[in-house]
């Protein structure tokens, strides 16, 4: 799962897509997950990182994480499989 290269993320967590002009505001956990995605961490690595830092269980993390990834995909912020292969 890779964030599109041209997506800009500010320190305050404002994400800007320069192709569509859309902006999104991220909460602190969102910023953290996004920076892990930018480092090209796997789902498994992201899960362990978040579970080790926060008092939450695996099913709760999994649900919230998939929701978050779904929102990123819906808004065309992740690279498609074809782009990732290229």
């Amino acid at each position: 799962m890779k964030l599109r290269k041209n997506i800009a993320v500010s320190e305050a967590g404002l994400l800007f897509n320069p192709v569509t002009g859309e902006s999104f505001s991220l909460n602190p956990i969102g910023i953290e997950i996004l920076s892990l995605l930018r480092e090209e961490k796997s789902d498994e690595e992201i899960r362990s990182a978040i579970l080790s830092r926060y008092n939450t269980d695996n099913p709760t993390f999994e649900k919230d994480y998939q929701d978050f990834i779904g929102i990123l995909k819906h808004n065309n912020l992740l690279e498609s499989h074809e782009e990732t292969k290229a």
């Binding site: 041209n6 800009a8 800007f16 320069p18 192709v19 569509t20 002009g21 859309e22």
Partner: protein, 348 residues
């Protein structure tokens, strides 16, 4: 080196809720690096705000509406030219372009330069001809049909599904969800702007605009795409952001290359959920949000003036992405005498 000083006439001083581009164009000209300016406003109504903006408009003359005919306009421009020695005029309304294009040679003989689309380009891109335009140049456009009377409305049902867009030939557009609404908008818009009315397929998606400048040989001198972020109830952008979309820029370059467009323009585009772009309209003049282009590094009005004056202009290399414009309204305090001056004598 001392910069030349140009006397430039600008229309579209109606900086209102559905603004004309004049004031933005003037702000751009005031920031030109290659020349200084004396700005002569050309107004149609006594309450156009630009008339009273004395810090950016040096003098204003009222001019006749296009309906008065080109002879009346020419006579008025001759009067203005005797006093102001205009070098350039930038017309900023769709409806006035026809008479200005017709007068282009005569005005040049008087020393007034313009950089406008040719009459053929102006007619060909008209929304009445959009279907043919799309076919000829291989650009996706929504299906549209021109109708001249209400009896034609029922025949639309076999070709279009609801909702559909009902458009005036110059301005105004409404979304109709029923045949009754189509009839009502037909009457309302035709009463204001005349016939024909254009019925257009409704494309679901996000609206974008591109402004730019073509040099008349097919070259792109400038192109800046923008996404509207805040839209008024009249569909005008009250805030927007510059974006970087290669598909949009490709379509713009293709439009300029194939039509050899001469002058400023604004493309109205719709992007559907599959990322396909449709060209909804080509406005043959600079848009009211043109100052954003200046803010991102492309002073399009300055380049247009230089082309009008016959100078060579290099294409802009790029622009800043993610820069926004936020429009605002501002109450000016105006002496009644000034209003009287422009209303009674047509000059201020």
């Amino acid at each position: 080196m001392k910069k030349p000083k140009l006397n430039i006439g600008v229309t579209g001083l109606n900086a209102i809720d559905s603004p004309g581009p004049g004031v933005s164009v003037i702000r751009a000209l005031k920031e030109a690096a290659s020349f200084d300016t004396r700005i002569i406003g050309l107004s149609y109504e006594s309450l156009e705000p630009g008339i009273y903006m004395h810090d950016i408009v040096d003098r204003t003359y009222s001019i006749p509406y296009p309906a008065a005919g080109t002879d009346t306009l020419l006579e008025r421009l001759e009067y203005i030219q005797e006093r102001e020695k205009l070098d350039v005029i930038i017309p900023n309304f769709d409806a006035e372009l026809y008479p200005f294009i017709k007068l282009e040679h005569k005005l040049k003989e008087m020393g007034i330069h313009m950089f406008l689309p040719t009459m053929h380009q102006f007619e060909e891109r008209h929304k009445v001809n959009l279907n043919d335009f799309g076919k000829k140049y291989g650009i996706s456009v929504p299906k549209s049909k021109v109708i001249y009377d209400l009896n034609m409305v029922h025949s639309l049902l076999s070709e279009f599904s609801f909702p559909m867009i009902v458009k005036g030939k110059f301005y105004d557009a409404s979304i109709a969800y029923s045949i009754e609404q189509v009839k009502s908008y037909f009457n309302k818009i035709s009463a204001k702007w005349g016939l024909p009315i254009i019925i257009q397929e409704f494309i679901h998606g996000t609206e974008f605009n591109v402004t730019g400048l073509g040099d008349g040989t097919g070259k792109t001198i400038a192109a800046v795409p923008m996404r509207k972020q805040y839209i008024t109830d009249k569909g005008k952008a009250w805030g927007g952001i510059s974006i970087s979309d290669e598909k949009m820029l490709d379509m713009t370059r293709k439009f300029l290359r194939t039509t050899k467009w001469r002058g400023g323009f604004e493309l109205e585009l719709m992007k559907n959920k599959d990322g396909e772009l449709y060209l909804l309209e080509i406005n043959p003049r600079l848009p009211a949000w043109i100052y954003l282009a200046v803010g991102v590094g492309q002073n399009i009005p300055e380049a247009l003036v230089n082309l009008a004056m016959g100078h060579k202009v290099k294409p802009f290399a790029g622009y800043t992405v993610g820069k926004m414009f936020v429009r605002y309204s501002w109450d000016m305090i105006v002496d009644r005498e000034e209003f009287e001056q422009i209303s009674v004598y047509g000059e201020l």
